[in-house]
């Protein structure tokens, strides 16, 4: 059975280019195209596609908002963010909103196919170009302690050190120490890298990240 796909992008040239990729692939079925966020949301509700490819910056609702709506509504549509911006914060924001894929528009058809297939099966796909910052290929991360995992997850959910400290009944200073140790163990230079690497190495799962606190 073909994967049913919705594509939303306000830029007509890019949209038609990607639409052509999707149509060409036999295992995919392009069920709808949308040129802004609210049209995309309406069509997702109406057509319930398996995968929605959403541009982040769109008139009406932006892609992250549409993803959030899909998540809140509990729909089964898997969201892949399709964007020109390589900002990691978009990745984090998208993942928090429930998106399972993050792909740059410069992606090759092969990669896009992989991304769609991965998320359709419930997996997580991040563009290699965004993920390329995440350490060397053969890097083997050190095991995180239980506390460190807790700290990382809370921080990944967007809590400040102060809030993490309050939640875990430890001092802010201890939170900072844990974070520094996490960075060292994962080979990251900052919080976002740490989270993406943790997701990549399977130290934490997307489901854990999406769990309500």
């Amino acid at each position: 059975m073909a994967v049913r796909i919705l594509l939303a992008d306000d830029h007509p040239l890019t949209r038609s280019g990607i639409a052509e990729f999707v149509r060409r692939e036999e295992s995919f079925e392009l069920v709808a195209e949308a040129e802004d966020g609210s049209e995309a949301w309406d069509k997702i509700r109406e057509l319930r596609p398996d995968v929605a490819l959403l541009d982040i910056r769109m008139p009406g609702y932006d892609g992250v908002t549409v993803a959030q709506k899909v998540k809140n509504e509990g729909l089964n549509t898997a969201i892949v963010m399709l964007t020109s911006y390589d900002a990691q914060q978009y990745v984090i924001a998208s993942l928090r909103a429930g998106a399972r894929g993050f792909v740059l528009k410069t992606v090759s058809p092969k990669e896009l196919t992989t991304a769609i297939n991965t998320v359709a099966k419930g997996g997580l796909y991040l563009d290699p170009e965004v993920a390329s910052v995440m350490g060397e290929q053969d890097f083997i991360p050190e095991q995180l302690s239980v506390r460190e995992r807790e700290v990382l997850l809370l921080a990944a959910k967007g809590l400040s050190s102060k809030e993490v400290a309050k939640k875990l009944f430890i001092s802010e200073r201890t939170v900072q120490t844990h974070l520094a140790s996490i960075y060292d163990k994962l080979g990251s230079r900052n919080k976002t890298e740490a989270l993406l690497l943790a997701l990549k190495y399977g130290v934490v799962t997307l489901e854990e990240l999406l769990e309500d606190e």
């Binding site: 020109s84 914060q89 400040s160 102060k162 520094a180 230079r189 900052n190």
Partner: protein, 462 residues
Amino acid sequence: MLSYIRRKFAGSGSHFLAFLLCALVLPSAAVVFVAVAGMLTQEKAMEAAVSSYVQDLAESMSYHLSSDSEVWTFAMLSDFTRYPFFSWGPSIPGWVALIAQDGKVLIASPGSMSIIVSIWRNDLPVGQAVRVTDKGGAQYTLAIYPVKRPGGGYVVAAVSWTQLLGGLVGVVRLWPALIVAIAFLSFIAIRLLWQKVVRPLRSLASEIDSMTLGKDVPEKLPDGTIEEIESVHSALLRFAQAAVERDNLRNRYVRDVVQAQEQERMDMAREIHDGALQDVTALLQQIHMIADDENKTSRLKRSEIIAKAVVKELRAFCDELAPPWMDLGLNEAVTELAERLSQAYDIRIMTDYDEDTDNAKIENDKILSLLRIIQEAVSNAVRHGEASEVNIQLTRENDTLTLEISDDGKGFDAANISHETLRVEGHRGLASMKERMNLMGGTLKIDSSPGKGTDIRASLRI
């Protein structure tokens, strides 16, 4: 009344001057007038008294000496000398004498002889007091009465004004001199007033009138200007100098902004020219060659790589110009920038926030300002401070948002560097951070000392 005068004379300088002239001259003129009138009246009264005195004296003498029958004898004359005024003189300063028909002095009170001789004139009226002046200018009132007896003769009585009034006469003579002196002094006073007050004030006023604020500074006052005007002038000078400085600063600032703009345009042009333009040109060459190339696949692969590079370059360029991730909110924007910087400089950057900094409604230009400050601060920390770790913290207290950036770099002597020094000595980055915050209505504090790293604290109201 007073307010009327004030209104009347407040108008112009010359009216005021006329008023001052009147105020100075009129009272002194009045004093002189009253004094002169008093003197004249008094002199008249004195003259009447003196006249009647000498008349009475001469008349009573002539009465005593008159007789119907007897001719003058020396025995009689010696008898007369018994009268006190012949032996002592009259009770007020004066003289009395008996003169024969032929002009010979028969008897005279002490001292009168020479005086009577000196003032005697043949045309003096008889029986009536008269005022005469001797050769020395001394004045006398004199009365001549005939003695009615055979042989005739005259009684002469006289009073000397000089002796009677003494020093007063001198004072009377002083009056004209005094008047002249007062007039002269008034003139000097008015002249000084004109020179030292009215004229400097007028020139000051016209100078203020014609001054272009921010360009001109008032000229130096001539020496000897009075203190009050001097202080008004120096206040004006300070004011004008401050305006000039401010104008200069603003001009310099505008020039800097224009220069920076031009520089930025040139940088952008160079970046596009050396980067994307070269790449697209290369891409075009590849496409041209695809047509007549047997190795199409590898050409296409090359084209793809080039095109991807162009996209990446342009993306980075856009991010640099105006970060598109600014609309993610303050915390995310700061995190994104911090992480990009940490990758670019390969240093550790820790970021942390208060709970409520994110949902704070902050305008994009304020976020952008804060991002630029972070950019500048981290770049300085790495390039100048050789820092390996930077801490970025956002805190919010009520309406005040504070961004603190601290590094573990070398630091510098921040206490001894003024804003101006920063600008002129090439630390334009630090200066422009401050200016940016000022523009946003915020403040920026730089705290650093050698060996202690640098701490930058930017605060603004949201």
